[in-house]
Structure formats: structure tokens, C-alpha cells
């Protein structure tokens, strides 16, 4: 299987569709991104990386970081995390507050905004906000084996100024005592981890441990146990694309986590970690061409967790 050719073909086949969808506009800094871009990077568990298109262009990972924050939080408090956040698909938009009221401040899963804010609160334990941000960044350096990763302060501040919905979610959960730190501290860290800047190559490296039984094959570092890697993959599959998760599972057949910056990290267990990026989104808030690219990749490689 010539993965380089597959990646090249996908980028070429999708070129005519560049521009479909709509760039997220609720975070002013993200609204400025040129939509007609598409990158793809495939890192296999044997340590090779294939790339095509805009695979080296830096973008804002946004909610993709939720998968790494969950990993970090599980490392800190283990399975007790599930007392404060569920692991069921939400059936609602990424920033819905309706479910929180019906379920008394317990978010449905760690991959909607409310859930990730609780996860951030956990990562913040025993730290000042600045330290927690530092810890997260170091963890990303470690899993990606790349110390050049950085947080884009401009994006973080842009979201901090306009992220009213997240302030609403956080205050709402604080009212149910499901946040232990001041809302401003938690959201300070939250907006910063969302503002992590990466390119597809770096992101595909960072996700490799999830495809390789918890261990990064590039470095040999064990990030989590095989069991925990499987479980994070399971949550990515059922909850990783907000209210488009079922559709992604149906069309692509791989665990994945998307971000409103237009990136998607997908995991083919035992085979590869794949990062795609194209800024324009579909109506569920997931990268439109990124999803199509992964659908093509899955079809052409035969990679699917649901059978060959």
C-alpha cells in the first residue's frame, strides 16, 4: 500500500472542492484563516510519516486538545474522573447548556466544551493557572516529541474576550459545585490549551501513542497503558465529533477528534495516526473536507475498526 500516493491523490482529488463549508467565525482570530487549504499527514506505527498538501502549515488545534487534556487528567486522577463527567454522546451541539441543566451540572462527556472545562479544572488541581498551562505544553512536547509546539496567545486572548458561552457553561457548573477553582482560572487554562498551534505532521506524531498501545513508537515513551489507549479511542469514536460523531463513525470508521480550527486527529489502532486539516466546517462544526479526506483514506487503505 503506497500511503504517499494515497495522501497525494486525496489532496489532488479534493482540490476542486476547496472553499466548501464555512470557517468558524465566533472566535475572531480564527475567522481570519484562509479557507482554501488542505493538509494531511499519516504517521504509521513503524515510525514513518507521509504528508501531502498543507501538512506543514500551523493551525489552531482547538478541541483536538481535549483528547490530550483527557489523557493528562486520567494520569492525575485515574478513573475517578468519571464521577464528574460522563462518557455518553451528547445528542446536542458542542456548546449546548440544555443537557447540563437536565443532568445537574455533570457534562455528558469530556469532548464537549462543558466536559473539557471540567477536565481542565482537574488538571488545574494543585497548580496556578500559568503552571497548568505549562504542564499541558510540556506534555504536548513529550507526546509529539517536538519542543517547538507553542500556544498562540493571540488566539487564546481572542477567545477569552468573546467566549461568553464558555463562561456561561463554567459558571453554570460552578453553581452545581462541579468546578473547584474560580471560573476565571479554569477558563484561562481552557482557552490556552485550545490555542495550541500545530501542523498536521506534528499532530499525527502526537496521536501515535493512541494507535500503538499507549506508547509513542518514535520515542519509545509509554504515555498510557494499552487499556487506557483503547478507552480514549472509544470516547473519541462515540463523542469526538460532537453531534456528528455517529456520522463520522459511519463514514470513516475510525476514532477521531475534531476542532473548530478545521483539524481532525484520527486513529487507526495498530496502524497509524492521521491528522488532516482544512479550515472550513460543516454544519455540525467539523472540518468538511477534513472529514471527506478521512473517508477517502479509510476507503483506499481499508482501515476501519469495524472490519476489513
Amino acid at each position: 500500500m503506497d500511503l504517499q500516493a494515497i495522501a497525494d491523490d486525496i489532496v489532488r482529488d479534493l482540490a476542486p472542492r476547496l472553499g466548501e463549508g464555512k470557517v468558524a467565525d465566533y472566535i475572531p482570530e480564527l475567522a481570519k484563516v484562509e479557507p482554501e487549504q488542505l493538509g494531511i499527514a499519516i504517521s504509521t506505527v513503524d515510525g514513518t510519516t507521509y504528508q501531502a498538501g498543507d501538512a506543514q502549515t500551523i493551525f489552531s488545534v482547538q478541541s483536538i486538545s481535549k483528547a490530550f487534556m483527557l489523557t493528562l487528567a486520567l494520569g492525575k486522577v485515574g478513573e475517578t474522573i468519571w464521577r464528574r463527567v460522563g462518557r455518553e454522546p451528547s445528542g446536542t451541539a458542542f456548546n449546548s447548556i440544555v443537557q447540563l441543566e437536565h443532568e445537574h451540572g455533570i457534562p455528558r462527556n469530556p469532548f464537549i466544551n462543558a466536559g473539557a472545562i471540567v477536565v481542565t479544572d482537574i488538571v488545574l488541581s494543585g497548580h496556578r493557572p500559568r503552571e497548568a498551562i505549562g504542564e499541558f505544553l510540556r506534555f504536548m512536547h513529550y507526546v509529539a516529541d517536538d519542543d517547538s509546539l507553542y500556544i498562540d496567545e493571540k488566539v487564546a486572548r481572542s477567545e477569552q474576550r468573546t467566549g461568553y458561552r464558555n463562561y456561561a457553561l463554567a459558571n453554570f457548573m460552578r453553581g452545581f459545585d462541579n468546578l473547584k477553582h474560580p471560573v476565571d482560572h479554569v477558563l484561562g487554562v481552557y482557552f490556552h490549551q485550545c490555542a495550541l498551534a500545530m501542523n498536521c505532521v506534528q499532530l499525527s506524531h502526537a496521536g501515535l501513542f493512541l494507535a500503538n498501545r499507549g506508547t509513542n513508537p518514535l520515542t519509545g515513551f509509554s504515555v498510557v497503558s494499552p487499556r487506557r489507549a483503547r478507552r480514549i479511542n472509544a470516547i473519541m469514536l462515540t463523542c469526538g465529533h460532537y453531534d456528528g460523531s455517529g456520522d463520522f463513525a459511519f463514514r470513516v470508521g475510525l476514532p477521531g477528534k475534531s476542532g473548530v480550527g478545521g483539524g481532525i486527529l484520527a486513529v487507526a489502532p495498530g496502524k497509524a495516526s492521521i491528522a488532516v486539516w482544512s479550515p472550513a466546517l460543516d454544519e455540525t462544526g467539523n472540518s468538511l473536507l477534513g472529514g471527506v479526506a478521512l473517508e477517502m483514506l479509510a476507503a483506499r487503505t481499508g482501515w476501519s475498526v469495524f472490519g476489513t
Copy 2:
């Protein structure tokens, strides 16, 4: 790997917990079932079947039949089915009507009651109710390679008399023109296909095509294409356990479909089809010990779609 020993061990290990949970009582006939039973059958793609406990006791498959009805409907109308039913997890109970109102009569997925009623309406096209029931039963004979399967009329009639919620769902969708046949016809077929009687061995045979690229290895019959088998598995994983689907994916890591009769069909793609049965349910309406048995099986075999 000694699958027989694993099956025996699970049944033995769970014996002390028999009686936990609560048998479904809203269908009078089901309420009569003795709760302290547990069966397990594992059919591997090479054609061997392992069984333990009450694997030969007949039970009412109930919602497990939704997976087979979906297969039948896809064979009839192909992907056009998705115009009338979604494929997203619902985030609500199996019989909720709230989502239907918010989403104008389009059920979230084919594995909640409303969705399965639409699927039934599709299977009913061009048939009288009795013929549609016959077609379904012949299809089950075919996929299970077992002509002894039958529909328990007593259960069907018991549900027909008391299934007010399903009448509400069906009428509600008919009001949105998402049912094409009279409500009584559709529900007549629906209650009958739910009342299919099987034991674990038969059910594990019937599910084998989903584990084996769409083809039943016992008979060599091709039921669906490999791609369709993957897609049905995807929907089972994201939607197969109602509002406990995320939890099942997390704990077991396999596509599965449960029924309120206490059965669960699980699929380990490329490896095996597994049927478990224990009548008492957890609070999300899924077999309590059935779920635990599958969690044990997944842990002991290493079977998981999310990695090894």
C-alpha cells in the same frame, strides 16, 4: 486462547451476581422470565461455536432484531434510508419522544424505538403486514442458518396490548408523514419482529456475517457487502445500547446491540460473533450481567476494536 474455558469461567465468576438488576416489567410476558439466568455463545469466523451457561435457553430478542431489520431495509432501499432516519446517538432513553418533536419526526437512529418503527415501515413497503413478518422470519432463518427460529405470538400480543408508547411514537411520526403505512400495520409488524425467539447459540450464528465481512462463514452465504457490514457495526457501536452506548464502547470496546429481553449481540470484526443473555437490566435498559460478561470476555480475549 481457550475460548471454551473463558466462557465457562465467565459464567462461573458471575454466578454469585445472578439476580442483580431488574427484569423489564413493561411487557407483561417478559416480566414472567426467571431473572437468575446467564448464557453465552461465541461463534468464531472459522465456524466454531463455544457455549456456556444457559446458552440454549430461548429468550425474546426484542431490540436486537433492530440490527437485522436494518440489514433487511438497507437491502431494500439502500442508503436512501438515511433520508428518513438519522445515524447519531440519541442522548435519551430508548422510547423518548422529545427528540422527535425537536427534529420534526426524523428519529435519531435506527436502533431507538422510533427509528426501528420507521425501518419497519420501509420493510413493509409493497407487503401486507403478515407477508412482511414472513419475510423477516425467512431472513432470520437464512442468516442464522436455522429454520427453527419462530416468533412468539404471546409476546407479540402482550406488547401490542400495552405498547402505548410505541403507538405514541408511530402516530407522532405519521403526523410528520414519516410513516407511509397505517400505524396499526407498522406496529403489528414491529411487535412481531421484536418477539423473535432465539437462544444464544442461534443468535451468535445470526450475527456472524457482521464479523466476517458480510458473509456467513457457516453457509458461505453473502448477506451484505463488506462495506455495509462495517457500517452496520459502526451504528451498533455508537447507538446499540441506547443512552448507555458510550459506556458500552468504553467498557467492552465492541459493536453491540442489546434488547430488553436481556440479550446482547456483540461483534468482534474478523474474529467472532458473541451472544450473551441474562434477563435483569441496568438502569439504561441493557442487560446488566450481559454487559459485565462481555466486558470480561473482551478483557480476557483482548478483543477490542480500539486496539490490542
Copy 3:
């Protein structure tokens, strides 16, 4: 105060607006009604009736009958009725089922469809459906002092054939055991009482007891106690216009009950009973020009329960 002149002026002032709004089309028989009609009748507690426009044209009262059915049910079971139906505004559309699921089959008030179906179930107690319909019709003859009132069988059957949403509501509540009779019986009566045919003059007579301490001044018949009349008025004010009840109270300031046939009955306690009719509806399902006519009448007469 020259009520005849006021009524004439309103009809004349609104003539240019005839045709605004939209005739209800979900009941086929009602969809045939010519929209450009407007009638008004004012019956004062001293026994005089003023009329203008199409005040003698017969129309389908539809939900206005809910006020009379409530009166009848209160007469049968008294305040125990509130165990099975609430008396709070719903905050949702007249035919919403969402609230019923959240509140376990207890409708919010007797003036939304679900609530009126429960009220019908109560009126049906101890009767066959045909008898209950007869009892209702006799009650209407009595309160309106007019034996010519009749039920339009064509409208009743039209709704019976297409009233899927009401079948959904009824089955849903039956599932919660909040209907005691078979759904078909209850809805048979329900659709018939909705299909009562009246003109504005007759309707204004029928409502007089609510304006006159429970007694019809035309006949001297006591229908209910003064206290009960006040209470029925209270429910009309808070719940009589579905999710437009607050707006009606704000603009008109009188208790009122509307129907999708385009009629509205309003009560000025101690002064008059007013019936208006114009078939085209606003977006909350209430007569558009009927509401405007009552707003004009209230402004020009100074009638308001909220002060002079």
C-alpha cells in the same frame, strides 16, 4: 357607551386587513373555510347582544370547547381533576409532547390538547362515547340556551382521519395510565366536541355565565358557583391562548379561549361575554384579526381585568 357602534367600527376598521394570517390547514375540512371573514358579538350581563360583521356565520369552535368541557368535568369530579392535569401555562405549542415526557404524562393545563384529552377522559367516565358526546351537546344547548347547536360530523371525521398528533398524545398519556378509557373512545369524543359548530352570537351567549358569577342572565340558570367561574376565567387568562397567552393578557387584558377555527371567546367579568371570529391565524395558532378586534374592543370600552 355605544357597544353597537364600537362593534361596527371594529369590523369596518379591520376590513382592509382581512386576509392577513393563515387558515389552519392541518384539518382538511377547516382548510376550506374562506379566510376573509370577521364577526363579533357582545352579550352584556344585562341580557343585550350586539353583533357586527359575520356574527351569524357558523364556524368550528375547536379548542374553545375546551373551556366548556372543563366546566363539565369540574361538575363531575370537582377539584380532584387537578390530580390528573395541571393549571400552569405550558410555554410550548398547543400540541407539544415534550412537556408530557418531562412531567410523566400529566399535562400542564386543561387548555392544551393533552390536557383537554384528559378532561375528555373524565367526562367519558361511566358513559359510552356516543353518550358522552350527547351529554356535552346537551350541556352546550343549556349554557347557550340554544337547542340548534350541533356537531359537524364532517369536521369530526376529518380530524379523526388526520389527527395523528392527538393519537400520539393520547397513547403517550395512556402509557402513563393518565387515560382510563381506550384511546379510540377518548379521541372519538374529543374530536366530536372540537367539531361543535356555532356562530359568534351563540358563542357569546354560551360564555355569559363566566361573566356573570356563574349564572346565565338570559335564562337565570346557574351553571357553576361564582368561585368556580372565577377560577375558570383564571385558567383562560393564563392558558387560553397556548404559547400566546401572555401576549393576549398583555394586549387585551381579558380571560379568553381561542380555537384554530378562528374563534375566540373573551370574558369581561361583571360586564360581558364577547365572541369574535376570523379564520386566519397568527403564528401561535390564534385568530390574528380576532385578537386585534378584541384589543380594539378592550381599548375602546376600557374593559380590562387589570384596571381601568
Copy 4:
């Protein structure tokens, strides 16, 4: 009619029930109030005030101030206010956020928290927070004809520290651009106007203009036009008791506005303004004995907007 005797009798009759219900505990300062208190003051439009029980004990008016803030805001922007807040009963709890999501940041009415926060945002226009608080307090001095009214800073600060739900509501609406000022400013004013301290006598004076065609008969000051007074009364009747508004209209039959401090202001148009206070609340968050006292008063005086 001897109103003094009626007031005395009510206080005496309810003495055995003092202690029923539950003092609001989500605002720490309010939780400290001794529950076994009951006061009543009746101010008639001819300028006489009757009082009984703890009618001179100062309490926190809390949401009752929403009626006065609405009056103030209507004076500023007139009927344009209805572009930013509805006037329909909510069908949900006073602090629910569900409706706001479904209706895109437009609160249902000015008497639930979200609506009152929007009203506060309007009153704040062109002011600094401190000035807006000052304006509100001066307005209260004016309508109550009592310069001794003050805002309890301790209560304001207590709520400011713990009012997470209100921060959630405000941020949520700010995200929909339905707040024009910074959340902290708006809530600063909001918490202060809630913290207004009054006794029953003062409150009954302050409400007199609503009973007397918009003019305070004690001072002759015209506060609003007769039409606006009627409209404020209408909103009080349909929305003044949160999700218990229908019940209050049914039982008492007068427009009223309650607060979690245990106070209720009720208006008998053309007759009197009535203030009751008893700190322990029922399950809808309204004063339990306060409601009962008003029910007794309405029954014994015959005051009801729904007839005599």
C-alpha cells in the same frame, strides 16, 4: 368590610402553620432569616394602610424588585423593550437556562432571572453601575414615598459571591448579544436591586400606583399611564410567580410578584396594594404562607380580577 379585622384574622389563623416550607438557602445571607414570621399590609387606593403581624420587619425584596425595574425600563425605552425580552410565561424554573438556548438568548419574560438581567442592562444604559443603582433607589423612594429605603450591601455581596447561575445566564445572553454592557456591570446592578430592603407597609405603598391607574394616591405622583399600569399587572399575573403563576392566578386571582426573600406584592386593581411576607418557600420558590395569606384575603374580601 373591616380590612383590619381581616388582616388580623389571617395572621392569627396562620400562626399554627408558621414554619411550613423552607427558607431559600442558595443566598447565604437569606438563609439566616428566622422562618417563623408573617406580615401583611394592605394599602387601599383611598390612602389607608392596614397592617398585621410582622408588617414592619425589614426583609429582602429580591425578585419583587423586578416589577419596579420593569417599570423603570419601560419609562426609558418604552415598548421597544419587547424586542429583547418576551412576555410569555416560561413553563420552567426561575433560573432555567434551557429556554434561553432554545429561544436564542431572548428571555421569555422580564420576571424570570434572565429577563430581569436584560431589563437591568436597559436601565444601565448611559450610566455607570453605581449611578444605575442610585437611580433605582431614588425611584423606589419616589414610588414608596419613603426616603428611608436602602439596599442591603451584605445581601448584595453575598449573592455576588455565590450567584453562579446568574453569571451563567448573563454570559449566555451576552453571547447572543442580548446584553450590551459587561456582565460584571450588569450583575453588579442586578444583585443590588435584588437586595433592596423593605417591610410590608413600605412595599404596599410602593405598589399602590399599580392599583390606582398608575398614580400613587398617597402623593398624587403619576408613575405610569393607566394603560401601562394595566400591562404591568398583566405580566405580573401571567409571569409573577415563576412556574407557579398559573396556580397563584387560580387560587388568589390577583396580579402578584413574589421574591425568594418570602415577600409577595399583590395588586387588586381599583382597590388596594397588598404586601405579605413570610420567609419559608414552597417548591416553586414562592412564599408558602404568603400565598396562603393572599388566598385567604382574596376569599374574605371578594377581591379577584376574575369576577365577584
